[in-house]
């Protein structure tokens, strides 16, 4: 390269964390193929590479949305009130594994899991306890729930109804992204096609009844946590988004009626510039897909809005205070990539769920970026960087190559059935682990700069009484509710599932009758069966 001397370099591989080679220097020559208005353009202008808002964070800061949930609904309710008092601007509910898997606390597989990874929600009564004293019309709530998303969403709507809120004014998000469950997180219940029906039912329901609700948060986060590269995260997530739009259209919906309510959720990992490029590329690719592939007419359908969470997988149990620094850098990358909302992980999350102190420090990290670092003063400050623009364009090209492969397989559902994304991710995660083993990639405190005899950090310990409490409540509920009404509501749900009707309406009735998450999910298991994956290593 011109002007670059052959001076010696350290004997290491200069690659991103995803293994992509990085040049010593980037110059104008590296972006000569890019045209500003076509490929980059001003913020707020198609293809939105630089952001969806013309004013960036000068108009509105990102939503600082800390994911939280543990133990009983009362304990989590208390944490939410703490976060809101500390200046958090939205809620984000973490559910425990029995809830996520549609099992009641008395199911065999719920043993030891109740309230551990999130809050235990069994029936409407728990949802009422969870949001006690919090006015749903005044906040936005994100709920990380997938297989039983419709059931939990129905509970939220009934709580709002009881508070006297108008559904058309409610705003928030359900994750409701089943495709990435098959690909990565594996919290699936029903087979793919039946699962997709639940999702298109939510699209149709919300476009009529809850128009400001984000119906799917198409998630790359879990794909990345499962060990994918940055490019795989981008490509599989956007291709999942394409699948949802296609299924919505195939279900008879107008693309502009539901596409604006799709939002995205990405990981922010440790390779700073690669992550920023990923976020910028995501906006551009999605805008072009929506306009050119689906012929969406409204600009709102073209604009990719996304939430980001820093990379849990990058946190280490060793020297846990190092995680504060990792998280700060990852959060900064998300902000420079123009995230619309952000969760920062706590320093103790490789050890346990976060303590209140650790969760507050994580929120403070965002506040320092927002109010002290100055990076919010101008929109997309890295736009025009030779390196960042080159990486962005390469990310885009790589994503389109993956789209072509998946399109040839017939779509993402077919690709999942063939195990394609699953295998790609498993390969990448093993390659990375080998690079760590061979110290081609250094992880401070893990394979270098190791320290013996570390002092322990305080952690949150979920006591075993949550399981007992929730079991006792479940028994009491079954004794006191109107059993006939529950049975009739569940029968109506089964009936709808066997036919073509929208499952949201009978689910709302089940919820009002205080049917449990496990009962509602079982009713659909009886009709649709369960998915089982082939275990491959």
């Amino acid at each position: 390269m011109k002007g670059v001397t052959e001076a010696s370099e350290r004997d290491v591989e200069f690659t991103t964390i995803s293994g992509r080679p990085v040049n010593r220097l980037y110059t104008a020559d590296d972006i000569a193929d890019l045209a500003y208005t076509r490929d980059i353009n001003h913020p707020g202008t198609f293809p939105y590479t630089r952001g969806i808002h013309p004013t960036g964070y000068r108009g509105k800061l990102w939503t600082m949305r800390q994911f939280a949930g543990f133990g009983t609904p009362e304990e989590t309710n208390e944490r939410y009130k703490t976060l809101l008092r500390a200046g958090g601007t939205g809620l984000s509910v973490a559910f425990d594994l029995p809830t996520l898997m549609g099992r009641d606390p008395d199911h065999e597989l719920s043993l030891g899991e109740v309230g551990k990874c999130g809050v235990s929600i069994v029936s409407l009564a728990d949802m009422e306890r969870l949001f006690d004293g919090i006015t749903l019309a005044d906040i936005t709530t994100s709920m990380t729930i997938n297989s039983p998303a419709s059931m939990i969403f129905a509970m939220y709507l009934v709580v709002a109804e009881k508070q006297g809120a108008d559904w058309t004014r409610l705003s928030g998000t359900i994750q409701n992204d089943i495709l990435k469950e098959f690909i990565a997180q594996k919290e699936y219940i029903y087979p793919p096609r039946e699962s997709m029906r639940l999702i298109t039912d939510v699209f149709a329901f919300c476009s009529k009844e809850v128009p400001r609700w984000n119906t799917v948060s198409v998630s790359g986060y879990h794909i990345r946590e499962a060990g994918s590269t940055a490019l795989q995260e981008l490509a599989f997530t956007l291709r999942d988004g394409i699948e949802y739009v296609q299924y919505g259209i195939d279900a008879g919906l107008d693309v502009d009626d539901f596409a604006p309510r799709l939002s995205f959720f990405f990981n922010s990992h440790s390779d700073f510039f690669e992550e920023i490029a990923k976020f910028r590329a995501a906006r551009k690719v999605w805008a072009e897909v929506m306009r050119d592939r689906f012929r969406a007419k409204q600009e709102r359908s073209w604009k990719l809005r996304f939430h980001t969470q820093t990379a849990g997988v990058s946190l280490t149990a060793q020297q846990p205070y190092n995680n504060v620094v990792r998280t700060a850098l990852q959060a900064l990358a998300a902000v420079l990539g123009g995230t619309n909302s952000l969760h920062t992980n706590s320093l103790d999350e490789a050890l346990a769920l976060p303590t209140a102190e650790a969760a507050t420090l994580a929120l403070r990290t965002q506040q320092i970026i927002a109010h002290e670092s100055g990076v919010v003063n101008t929109v997309d400050p890295l736009g025009g960087s030779y390196f960042v623009e080159r990486l962005t364009a390469d990310m885009e090209r790589g994503a389109r190559d993956y789209f072509a492969i998946i399109d040839r397989m017939g779509g993402m559902v077919e690709a999942i059935e063939a195990g394609f994304p699953q295998k790609e991710i498993a390969e990448a995660s093993y390659r990375f682990q080998q690079a760590v083993e061979q110290r081609d990639k250094v992880i401070v405190g893990v394979n270098d700069f190791v320290q013996q005899d570390e002092p322990p950090v305080p952690i949150l310990y979920i006591d075993e009484t949550t399981g007992e409490k929730q079991l006792a409540r479940l028994e009491a509920l079954r004794r006191t509710r109107d059993t006939g009404r529950v049975e009739r509501a569940l029968d109506a749900l089964r009936e709808t599932a066997r036919g073509q009707g929208n499952t949201m309406y009978p689910l709302l009735e089940c919820v009002r009758a205080y049917a449990t998450v496990g009962e509602m999910c079982d009713a659909l298991r009886e009709v649709w069966g369960e998915y089982e994956e082939v275990a491959l290593i």
Binding site: L109, K186, V446
Partner: protein, 136 residues
């Protein structure tokens, strides 16, 4: 001739996070062991029965959900009942410090937290597996 070390890698409970289980399964296999991966959502009964059927020398449990203090004692109890006391049991995942001595007390020999090098786990298995197998 002695046979290779046989390992059952299992994901008990409801948790579906299988990156660690799959990575370690491959690492042990690449190191020359015979590895059987059970797949997701196995009950303690299913895991012990897999170990019996496969004549496993080692059971590796991957648990990130916090249910380890329920799952591990159950697995150890069942192993004992089946006369499989000499099977080496190791656990990987998110395990709070305070639980480590409790797990060791019930016979879990190795406990590996996030960030543990794969080679360390391979070495541990070699050093602690029962005698009738060929070490790698």
């Amino acid at each position: 001739m002695m046979r290779k070390i046989r390992v059952v890698i299992a994901k008990p409970g409801l948790d579906g996070h299988d990156r660690g289980a799959k990575v370690i399964a491959r690492a042990l296999r690449d190191a020359g062991m015979e590895v059987i991966y059970t797949g997701l959502r196995q009950t303690p009964e299913q895991i012990v029965s897999a170990a019996l059927q496969e004549d496993a020398d080692v059971i590796g449990l991957s648990i990130l959900s916090g249910a380890h203090m329920h799952i591990c004692p159950k697995v150890m109890e069942l192993l004992k009942a089946k006369g499989l006391d000499d099977v080496l049991v190791v656990v990987g995942g998110i395990i709070p410090d305070v639980d480590i001595p409790k797990l060791q007390e019930i016979g879990v020999k190795g406990i590996f937290l996030p960030g543990t090098p794969m080679q360390q786990i391979i070495d541990f298995v070699n050093a602690n597996v029962r005698d009738r197998v060929e070490r790698v």
